[in-house]
C-alpha cells in the first residue's frame, strides 16, 4: 500500500466518522470554510458560543488590547486546574497542611510543578488583571456604554486580591500565618463592624456586639486568633466561595463585553 492509497483510506475512514449520526449529533455543522458555516459552528457549540460569532479586525490586535483580559482568564483556568490537582493531596487541617505542602513539593510526582504553576499563575493573574485595568483605562474603554462593565471589573479585581490573600495562608508556614495575621488585623479597623474601627463603641452600646469575639475580624479568622479554624475557613473561601463568585461575575463581564458593542476600537 503506497502513501497515496493510504491517504485515500484515511479520507474514507474520516468521512465515515464525520458523516456518522453520532458525530453529527455533537457537531451539527461541518468544517466547510464559508463565512456562514463559521458563524454556525460557533453559534451551535456550547463552548464556542461564548465567543462572538464574528468580531471586528481591531479586536484581535494584540498591540491594542494586550490580550490582558483573555490572559487573565487563561490564568484563572490554569489556577482552577492546578488548584483542583493540589486538592488531591492537601488537607486544610493545622496538623497536616504544612507537611502536605512539603510532601507535594518533595515527594509527589509533578507535585512541585503543580504547586509552582499555581503559585506563579496566581502572581501572574494579579499582575495581568492590573495591566488589563490599565489598558482599559488608557484606551478609554470604561466610557459609556461600557461603564457598568468597569464596575464588574473592579469587583473582579477585588475578588482576585481576595483569592490571592486567602490562598496565602494555606501553606501554613510562618510567612503565611504572619501575613494573614497582619492582613486580618486591618479588619479590626472596619467602620462599624471592626472592634477597633470608627463607631465601634457606639455599635457596642447599641448592639452589645462588636467585641474582639464578635466583629469583622473574627468573622474572617473564626475566633480571636489566626489558628486552625482560620485555616479551614480560608480554605473554603479560597476553593469554593470566591471562585464561584468570580466565575459568576466573569460570565457577566464577558457577556457585557459583547452586549456593549464588543471589544472597544481605536479612537
Amino acid at each position: 500500500m503506497n502513501l497515496i492509497q493510504l491517504k485515500a483510506k484515511y479520507e474514507e475512514i474520516r468521512k465515515t466518522i464525520v458523516d456518522s449520526y453520532v458525530w453529527k449529533s455533537m457537531f451539527r455543522h461541518g468544517y466547510k470554510d464559508t463565512p456562514r458555516n463559521r458563524v454556525l459552528m460557533t453559534a451551535s457549540n456550547v463552548f464556542l458560543h461564548l465567543h462572538p460569532s464574528k468580531m471586528r479586525r481591531h479586536g484581535i490586535k494584540v498591540s491594542y488590547t494586550w490580550c490582558a483580559g483573555g490572559l487573565t482568564f487563561l490564568f484563572f483556568l490554569v489556577l482552577t486546574v492546578t488548584g483542583v490537582i493540589l486538592m488531591f493531596y492537601y488537607r486544610p487541617v493545622a496538623e497536616y497542611a504544612f507537611v502536605d505542602m512539603k510532601y507535594l513539593q518533595f515527594d509527589v510526582p509533578f507535585g512541585m510543578v503543580m504547586r509552582n504553576m499555581h503559585r506563579w499563575a496566581a502572581h501572574g493573574m494579579v499582575i495581568l488583571v492590573m495591566l488589563h485595568m490599565f489598558r482599559v483605562f488608557m484606551t478609554g474603554s470604561y466610557k459609556p456604554p461600557r461603564e457598568f462593565n468597569w464596575v464588574v471589573g473592579v469587583l473582579l479585581l477585588v475578588l482576585t486580591f481576595l483569592l490571592s490573600f486567602t490562598g496565602y495562608l494555606l501553606p501554613w508556614d510562618q510567612l503565611s500565618i504572619w501575613a494573614v495575621t497582619v492582613g486580618t488585623n486591618m479588619a479590626r479597623a472596619t467602620p462599624l463592624m471592626g472592634h477597633e474601627g470608627p463607631f465601634a463603641e457606639q455599635m457596642r452600646e447599641l448592639t452589645g456586639l462588636i467585641t474582639p469575639r464578635y466583629d469583622a475580624r473574627s468573622f474572617l479568622t473564626a475566633g480571636t486568633v489566626v489558628a486552625a479554624p482560620t485555616l479551614l475557613r480560608f480554605y473554603v473561601l479560597h476553593c469554593i466561595f470566591i471562585p464561584i463568585a468570580a466565575a459568576v461575575l466573569m460570565i457577566v463581564h464577558f457577556w457585557r463585553v459583547r452586549k456593549d458593542g464588543g471589544i472597544s476600537g481605536p479612537l
Partner: protein, 178 residues
C-alpha cells in the same frame, strides 16, 4: 320581539375604585416579600453560623507565679514565648505588657542593653514603660489586667486591655502594688 336584558347580565363596568394596589401588585409584593425575607433570614442565620459559641482557644487568663519571682527594675521575658506577655516589676508595682506591636501585630523584642522594645518587622521602638518613640507604631504597647489571687499568685487576664491613649494606665486593675 323585543327582549330585555336582565340588569345582572349587562356589561356595565363598575367605576374603577381607587385601590392602593391592584390584585396583581399585591401578589407581586407578597411573592417578593416572602422570597426576600427567606433570603434575608438565611443570610442572618449564615452570619450567626460563622461565629461559633465555643472557641477552642487557650484561656486568656494565666498564672504568672509569685511576685517574688520577678526582679525589681527588670523586664521579664519568661512568658513571652508562651503567652506573648512581658512582666515588669518597678518600684513595688507589677505590670503586664502585651508583646504585640501596635503597628501591625508582630512580636517586638526586649533589648535590655538599650532599654527598649524593638519590633523586627518595621523597626518600631517602645520605651520600657511601653511608650512608642520611633518607627511606624502609632500608639504605646497595650497593658493587661493583673491581680493577685488568694495564694498570692499573679493572675494575668489578656482579654482585658488598658490603653495609654485612653488614660487607662491609672486604672487599679492594670497593675499590682506590693
Amino acid at each position: 320581539m323585543e327582549t330585555t336584558i336582565p340588569e345582572s347580565k349587562t356589561l356595565t363596568k363598575k367605576p374603577a375604585e381607587a385601590n392602593l394596589w391592584t390584585r396583581r401588585e399585591f401578589f407581586g409584593f407578597a411573592g417578593w416579600g416572602a422570597f426576600l425575607s427567606a433570603i434575608g433570614l438565611g443570610l442572618l442565620a449564615f452570619v450567626r453560623f460563622m461565629f461559633p459559641r465555643v472557641l477552642f482557644e487557650p484561656s486568656p487568663v494565666f498564672n504568672a507565679g509569685k511576685p517574688s519571682d520577678y526582679t525589681d527594675g527588670e523586664v521579664s521575658e519568661k512568658f513571652k514565648e508562651e503567652q506573648r506577655v512581658w512582666i515588669e516589676r518597678e518600684g513595688g508595682k507589677i505590670i503586664a505588657i502585651q508583646a504585640i506591636c501596635t503597628h501591625l501585630g508582630c512580636t517586638p523584642r526586649w533589648l535590655s542593653l538599650e532599654g527598649k522594645f524593638k519590633c523586627p518587622c518595621h523597626g518600631s521602638g517602645f520605651r520600657k514603660d511601653g511608650i512608642n518613640f520611633e518607627g511606624p507604631a502609632p500608639r504605646p504597647l497595650e497593658r493587661l489586667a493583673v491581680r493577685l489571687d488568694d495564694e498570692g499568685n499573679l493572675i494575668i487576664d489578656k482579654s482585658k486591655k488598658f490603653l495609654y491613649e485612653k488614660g487607662e494606665w491609672d486604672d487599679p486593675e492594670s497593675f499590682v502594688t506590693l
